[in-house]
Symmetry: C2
Subunit: 682 residues, 2 copies
């Protein structure tokens, strides 16, 4: 009965793919993978520009098969922190934890499950590793110790040794792929940020949203009519709050849960006229939907043969991994939404849940016409919907920017921002930090608040995030819902607008260089083991440290060097934690000495293609500074055809004075900025 | 690319096994199964006595294989409630939910994972269904709808129809077994309680604990010495609190986490003398342990070849599914514990966790000498430890009663009571209800409290549970820790002792007839769809309705008929909910009209074999009543060799008077009860 044989264990070397990127086949990969569904093409030139780091080849991996699972084992150092794994809400460093990377809409516990559980680890030692599998991969992040370990942890006694640990030190990561196999990718550094860059560039570069996407967004109540939505939008103008996008929630459909994708004639009798009116008022229209097709939808009969074995809320769950299904939905969407000027979508419910609440997803054992099962389709459903809708707009040479509740590996180029129903402000900020490890964008959207203070604090955070949105679908809230903080909220909506040149340039670097616009502190130089989860970087210069309701003061960990408070101009020495006690009217933002922040006026909405705005170049402190200002038409894919430019802003300290310089616009290239003013602070 | 073929779907008939029990092979079962590990032999005669219900044959099951998973589908009715699935903390009726039946020590969310996730459904329609698999089985309890459904749910629109449901009505259960296959069992009714009985009897009958196991238990602080433990025990006597068992926590080992299983010479220099002293004082000694073997343990080298590929806290995780490993631990335990008088074990940590806290279990992909993997071994680890230790005592013809943190199917005959660290009083009562569906025993053990009220309320509950225990391992609490409620606590510890004849008879019926001693209301006649989760039955006559700290009153749902409050004798009409407002000094207990509750004196501890105690027969109300009083030596397995008896107590109402009758003891059989007194109440 006893067999002392271990399963066959093989030592497998990584294959060099391109500069700083290696690959490895663990078993035989399945045909459906997240990278394949996302569909991006690696930006090989940009990757090569990152260079070929010396001595960066990854160590060989041990691979074995245990009862049909592929197990890949890789060595880790004692001090190594393991970041990433997608949109994680509960911790930054996963070292010592077992992570189950299942797509799930209720990530209430610290298991690894979340809306976008990207199987990409970023190591503090400066490398990244991706498992390109549409299966639910488990990663034991140094949470297991093999009996045959050459370097086992010290033996301790919980009752008598205060150094005892529930998870003893482990010398390996173990990756479990419950399938015939998967392809793995290794992204070299030398820094963790370089590894992230390589990953993002390999996915096709980060998303470059249209300029209007970086304005303020408002979602109206789910039962809003065309008149109500337009009135709500106009109220923004009357009250002097910027706003670029009005989002419609489920009630715009003739029937939702499941969806028809058709305008309800009772609330939106004249969709084209409505969208045209909104456009003329300076608003883009975003439509909520989910993937489950109502039997009342005209597209239902055509989609039926391309759908899974199980329904959701009585609707089809189409196999959007197959072109026929994609095309059917795309044609309907193009005809009834995109062609009349709709600017994008909010893709809800593509994650599914069994955790709490009711169970409502198609099951893992569902079967699909493509031959895939429910586990696979669910893991990539959000990606598939993102790609389908992105291409819809690309075909019309229009950029989109939208919301989505599920993602996976490869999603960086898709112009979608994740959101959640969890609504814990601290977790939302932690997710914003973590999103930067995994090529994800995340909005800590605001819906309601427990107090005016909570409202203001959440507004400050969301205005310094990838997508600044108020979602009033349920509560019918507006920015002015708490009158006692209305001026504070207005100030931050306007700051959001003013920051657009800075933010848009940060996104351009995301696209062209792979540098995430919103980043955790662990991606900053000298902080690679940092587990700070309540402050984050926006671009290269701004460090944002939100306060949470009830907090009067907080510590801010400043990286080495001098820092200047964005608003007050006060100076603080870095390389330490400083305590700040801002009132409700201020969120702490620190700028590096020498930091440059180009601003535009606090307009009602973003400049459209060809429009010109003034530029105010804020520069901070007394050190040399440099900033690359990106410009293009802000709306189309002309930048892919060369119609873009980078302008260099330079501050040079010389003989106690600061010289200011901005390169001239390139002739023949889109040029958004007119008058230039300079302001020094701190 | 599109293949319209569904996976092969087969309609499979159940095979008749014995009276009211059918079986079905779904695929090819694996060799390791919970029933096999538990090792009980079906009590076929008792099963046959339940009869062969007419028309009870189960409907054929649909079976398909989807990507290596076996999927079994069975029809359900619209009104059918689905109970059971082991020690569930979050709900009673799983209809509409997806349950993942993984063993897990942190069942903080309503997913199905728990310490003892028994894959046994009990239907309100009066049948049970068991999946005998050591894999993590998922059960979609009417939470999925197939696209080819002949009877799909009504189509509704969430936004416009208040009857919309997140989980629409489904006409089927889907069971997913991630393995080559499993054997399924169908237990007929006609009532849900009959289905439970059939299951328990098929497992080998319920556990019959020794009498002392039903006394009060106290666990000392983990760092207690022999002197401290003895002093703690004697304090019970001084303060007039009953107590039968003193439990030692991790600190008794020379080293724990991982365990040596050897007495620490610093705290327990003379183990045999200590146990002898405790025995002479009337206490049994219970030892805490977990399955992970310290390199400092003398048994370590011998166990090493029989252990898994991964360590836990630096200790071996032996393969206790193989006889060699079992025997090695059993020999050591017998020599160093059982032979000197230790009475049993508390088997901790055999469940494992990745949910919150630190990750610390061997992984699912661990490999074992038996050829099984970590998923399988973990699912049955608690069962294996229970069986190993039970047999240790059986070989010495001594019954044991102990604690365990993990269980699975088949465990009913193993004399172990589950416990948890969750410590939510409401969840603990819900678990007590749910335990009755699955042949499990559960203790809502008390450790600490937020107030004297909380302390008293928890004490009242635990004294009316399968194992009445205070666990002071961490907080060093005693029953008198809250002096303001000391008299209340004393009263309930004494009530526990007094109830011993009633409780012991209820356990005997668990053993011989399969009737759980602690049961949810849904197992009562006429309440088969009840989701009541805050009151439960103890034996046939007592209905216990705990209060929770902060509650001044509560509703109690009384089944049809007249009921009498146990203490006050007040009468209430059943078939309705009544509101009770007991003070802190009382937990509501209702007795059926005609109910008979035999009591013994509130002694310090349980009678030992051959000892005699007086009997007070309490009978309630004015209806006829009947009770079968079980008796045996209370300590050995002589009852299996015929040395037991049932005495019949009868109350007969005639001409407005009540005639009382108890059958004489059988000559030559153990006889515990001497003087008999009768008391009528209500």
């Amino acid at each position: 009965m006893i067999s002392s044989k271990s399963p066959a264990l093989r030592l497998v070397k990584w294959q060099h793919e391109t500069a700083g990127i290696w690959t490895l086949f663990a078993g035989k990969p399945e045909s459906l993978t997240p990278l394949g569904v996302a569909g991006g093409s690696p930006l090989l030139n940009a990757i090569r520009e990152l260079g070929e780091p010396k001595g960066a080849a990854p160590p060989a991996a041990s691979i074995e098969t245990v009862h049909g699972r592929i197990v890949v084992s890789l060595p880790i150092d004692d001090k190594e922190a393991l970041f990433g794994l997608g949109l994680q809400f509960h911790r930054v460093n996963h070292r010592g934890r077992t992570r189950t990377l299942r797509v799930n809409s209720d990530p209430k516990e610290d298991t690894g499950e979340t809306h976008a559980p990207v199987p990409l680890l970023i190591s503090s030692r400066g490398y990244g590793m991706l498992v390109d599998s549409a299966r639910i991969v488990s990663i034991y992040c140094g949470s297991t110790v093999r009996a045959d370990s050459k370097n086992p942890p010290d033996l301790r006694d919980r009752g008598r040794d205060p150094l005892w640990e529930a998870t003893p030190r482990s010398e390996a990561i173990e990756i479990v792929i419950p399938s015939p196999g998967a392809k793995l990718y290794y992204f070299a550094g030398p820094t963790p940020l370089d590894a992230v860059r390589r990953y993002v560039l390999f996915c096709g570069g980060g998303a470059l949203p249209p300029r209007w996407g970086l304005g303020f967004w408002h979602r109206v109540r789910t039962d809003a009519t065309d008149h109500a939505a337009a009135a709500e939008a106009q109220e923004y103008r009357k009250r002097d709050f910027p706003c670029d996008v009005i989002g419609l929630e489920p009630g715009w459909h003739s029937s939702s849960y499941p969806c028809t994708y058709e305008w309800g004639a009772d609330r939106f009798p004249h969709p084209a006229a409505f969208v045209e009116q909104m456009t003329s008022l300076g608003f883009h229209v975003n439509l909520w939907e989910h993937p489950y097709v109502s039997p009342r939808a005209s597209v239902y009969p055509a989609l039926q043969p391309y759908s899974g074995s199980h329904t959701v809320w009585g609707g089809l769950a189409p196999d959007y991994t197959v072109p026929e299904a994609q095309q059917l939905l795309a044609r309907q969407h193009d005809r009834e939404h995109v062609s009349i000027g709709v600017s994008g979508y909010k893709l809800d419910e593509c994650d599914g849940s069994e955790l709490t609440g009711a169970s409502w997803m198609f099951p893992a054992h569902a079967s699909y016409p493509s031959g895939h099962d429910g586990e696979q389709v669910r893991q990539v459903y959000g990606l598939a919907m993102q790609r389908l809708t992105t291409e819809l707009f690309r075909r019309r040479d229009r950029r989109t920017y939208g919301l989505v509740r599920a993602g996976n590996a490869g999603g960086a180029p898709l112009p979608y921002v994740l959101y959640s129903d969890l609504y814990d402000h601290r977790q939302y900020v932690r997710a914003l930090c973590n999103s930067g490890f995994s090529g994800l964008l995340w909005t800590p959207e605001i819906r309601s608040a427990s107090s005016a203070e909570d409202w203001a604090r959440r507004m400050q955070t969301v205005c310094l995030s990838p997508l600044a949105m108020l979602n009033g679908w349920s509560d019918g809230t507006h920015p002015w819902s708490f009158p006692e903080v209305e001026p504070v909220v207005r100030k931050y909506l306007k700051l959001r607008m003013r920051l657009m040149p800075y933010l848009y340039s940060a996104f351009a670097r995301y696209h062209f260089e792979g540098t995430p616009p919103f980043r955790p502190m662990a991606l900053e130089p000298g902080m690679h083991n940092s587990e700070i989860d309540d402050q984050y970087m926006v671009g290269d210069s701004l460090l944002v440290a939100p306060l949470f309701a009830g907090q009067r003061s907080r510590e801010v960990h400043l990286p080495p060097g001098a820092w200047i408070e964005f608003e007050t101009g006060e100076r603080a020495e870095g390389g330490q934690a400083v305590t700040v006690t801002p009132g409700i009217e201020r969120i702490p933002i620190f700028v590096r000495n020498g930091g440059i922040v180009p601003l535009m006026p606090a307009r009602d909405n973003a400049p459209h293609g060809g429009e010109r705005v003034d530029l105010e170049i804020l520069h901070f402190g007394d050190a040399d500074g440099r900033f690359r200002l990106y410009d293009d038409d802000g709306e189309t894919f002309a930048y892919e055809r060369g119609a873009f430019q980078w302008r260099t802003i330079e501050i040079t300290a010389k003989n106690g004075e600061l010289a200011r310089k901005i390169s001239a616009p390139e002739p023949g290239k889109p040029s958004t900025y007119g008058e230039i003013a300079w302001t020094r602070r701190g």
